[in-house]
């Protein structure tokens, strides 16, 4: 039985109760520092980015080219067969216009994250990146976009070697 109006356990506090120390509490910052190894597929992908190239991997059994690249095909569970150089253009699969940061601070200039299906990969295979040099109101699904690269001297083998994608 759970009728409306029944009193349940659970005591709601306000931020004020912490600020004024009305309730006892302790805090702790766990030391969570990680170094995530790039691994084989990602290491190669990042090297490609440094050279201004987007690389995918191909499974000949499933006849598909995927990006981000991986060493194994999760559909047929075999090793991928080869590297494929893709174009640095694609189409917008979906996008958002985001006004807040992860800790809920307001952004003055909204960001436009998007999933971009990369030309040369199989249909629907895309990556997450940002769009810029575009009025947010003008962004459409299916819009053609192209990577805007950092100058070669500034690239370090990172997804950020692409500054963003812009419409073409």
């Amino acid at each position: 039985m759970l009728e409306t109006g029944i009193r349940l356990h659970g005591t709601a506090l306000e931020e004020e109760d912490f600020k004024t120390h009305r309730v006892f509490y302790t805090t702790d910052i766990p030391k969570l520092q990680y170094a995530w190894d790039c691994g084989v597929a990602m290491g190669h992908y990042l090297k490609g980015l440094k050279q201004g190239k987007l690389l995918g991997t191909y499974c000949k059994k499933c006849k598909r080219t995927v990006i981000p690249p991986r060493v194994f095909c999760e559909l047929c569970f075999r090793n991928m067969d080869k590297w494929v150089e893709l174009k640095d253009t694609g189409i917008v699969n979906t996008f958002s216009i985001c006004y807040v940061t992860w800790d809920m601070k307001k952004l003055i200039y909204p960001e436009i994250p998007a999933v971009i299906e990369i030309d040369g990969a199989s249909k629907g295979k895309g990556i997450l990146h940002l769009l810029a040099e575009v009025d947010p109101k003008q962004v459409k699904l299916g819009m053609k976009v192209k990577a805007v690269w950092k100058p070669k001297s500034e690239r370090e083998g990172s997804i950020l070697d692409i500054k963003y994608f812009k419409p073409i």
Partner: protein, 389 residues
């Protein structure tokens, strides 16, 4: 394999609040105690305990399952933790179900708890590692991105106006006014939802569930034991779960294939041929307004792109033909991740027994379905429950 019938015989829940004074253990205890007391079951008659709780980083207690074991009735008992991200709240009872269905134990208490307020400055800090550390996190992502990207894809593929999605917030937050656990019950209009702050277009603030602290629990029993405890058991007649690839930018987000696969598994087990006629009350996972619609479609309870229409027609209203989220859902009752999924299991228990008070649906339901979802738009968990007669 010969499986035994398993019944839900008791349920308990705490209030869902933004910041609870109670510790994680105290929340777990209250929900568990209420569930045991509701069926007059002393702790010594519980054979096994399953605990569902989301990332350790929320409560800030690593090995949180073990930490919460004695507060869930697990003192010197076989205890296990189950976890599939946001799908946990409906996955934990599946784990409890097979402990009993397999014949291993006659009784099991299943408890889910989350205390997200421990995670400062915002629980999203604990979610950030969901994004790939090499190809995604350097872009500075935010959890809202994936929901906004999925919602936009869903809207645009089917040409669904945002107003129709806002209706889900209106319905669920209104339903929640009658739920004694509810954190965000409210009487709102579609305009209120549309005009609330845009967080990540197309998502506005009132289309998002809150972060919450809370716990919920059920007691499961084998047929023989259940019949001794109650004249009114609610049977778990089908379960299903499924995970898609974590390469989420390689999938079309407009439709949750993995939810369909989980649902088909559960329908098959429950012998359900025509879900739209046979499911009388449904609690799909609704952390965002569009998610309820997306999931109704994945559950095959609406054609692709048609869930907004059946919502607008009132079919999913509390007095409709197939009420959806009569509890008030995550949007209205609150979203202490694992406990929110378990809240849905509890709601079906009360609805199917006709014990939901003002929330009681009007179609005298015989069969209900609860579903949860999680991770990178990736996990579907489904439980089908059926009245005893």
């Amino acid at each position: 394999m010969k499986l035994r019938k398993v019944a839900v015989v008791g349920a308990g829940i705490t209030k869902f609040v933004r910041r609870a004074q109670e510790t994680a253990k105290e929340l777990s205890y209250h929900a568990t105690k209420m569930a045991l007391d509701s069926c007059n079951m002393p702790l010594e008659e519980i054979d096994s305990v399953v605990h569902g709780t989301a990332p350790d980083a929320f409560d800030g207690v690593h090995m949180k399952g073990e930490y919460l074991s004695e507060a869930s009735g697990g003192w010197r008992k076989p205890f296990m933790r189950s976890y599939v991200g946001g799908g946990t709240g409906v996955f934990a009872p599946i784990n409890g179900w097979y402990l009993v269905a397999s014949g291993m134990y006659d009784t099991c208490v299943v408890v889910c708890e989350e205390k997200m307020s421990s995670c400062q400055p915002h629980p999203q800090g604990a979610f950030l590692t969901i994004f790939d550390h090499t190809t995604e996190r350097p872009l500075g992502p935010n959890l809202l991105w994936i929901f906004a990207l999925e919602m936009n894809r869903y809207m645009q593929v089917h040409k669904i106006p945002r107003e129709q999605i806002a209706l889900v917030s209106v319905k669920n937050k209104r339903n929640a006014l009658d739920h004694p656990s509810a954190q965000l019950g409210a009487e709102l209009t579609v305009e209120d939802v549309m005009n609330s702050e845009i967080m990540a277009w197309p998502v506005t603030r009132l289309m998002v569930s809150p972060t919450s602290d809370g716990a919920a629990a059920v007691v499961l029993a084998s047929e023989e034991v259940a019949k001794k405890i109650t004249d009114n058991p609610v049977w778990i007649s089908g379960v299903g779960w499924n995970l898609d690839t974590a390469y989420w930018t390689n999938r079309d987000l407009y439709y949750p294939e993995y939810v369909e696969k989980a649902a088909r598994m559960a329908y098959k087990m429950a012998g359900i041929k025509n879900p739209r006629e046979e499911i009388n009350v449904v609690e799909p996972y609704d952390p965002f307004a569009y998610k309820e619609l997306h999931h109704l479609e994945g559950l095959l309870l609406a054609d692709k792109g048609q869930a907004p229409r059946i919502t607008a027609e009132g079919i999913t209203a509390r007095d409709g033909k197939m009420p959806s989220c009569p509890s008030g859902g995550l949007l209205g009752v609150g979203n202490p991740i694992a406990a929110a999924g378990m809240m849905k299991i509890c709601e079906l228990f009360w609805q199917l027994r006709g014990e939901a008070g003002k929330r009681q649906v009007k179609n005298s339901p015989r069969t209900g379905l609860a579903q949860a979802w999680g991770d990178l738009m990736q996990v579907g968990t489904v439980v089908i429950m059926q009245r005893g007669d």
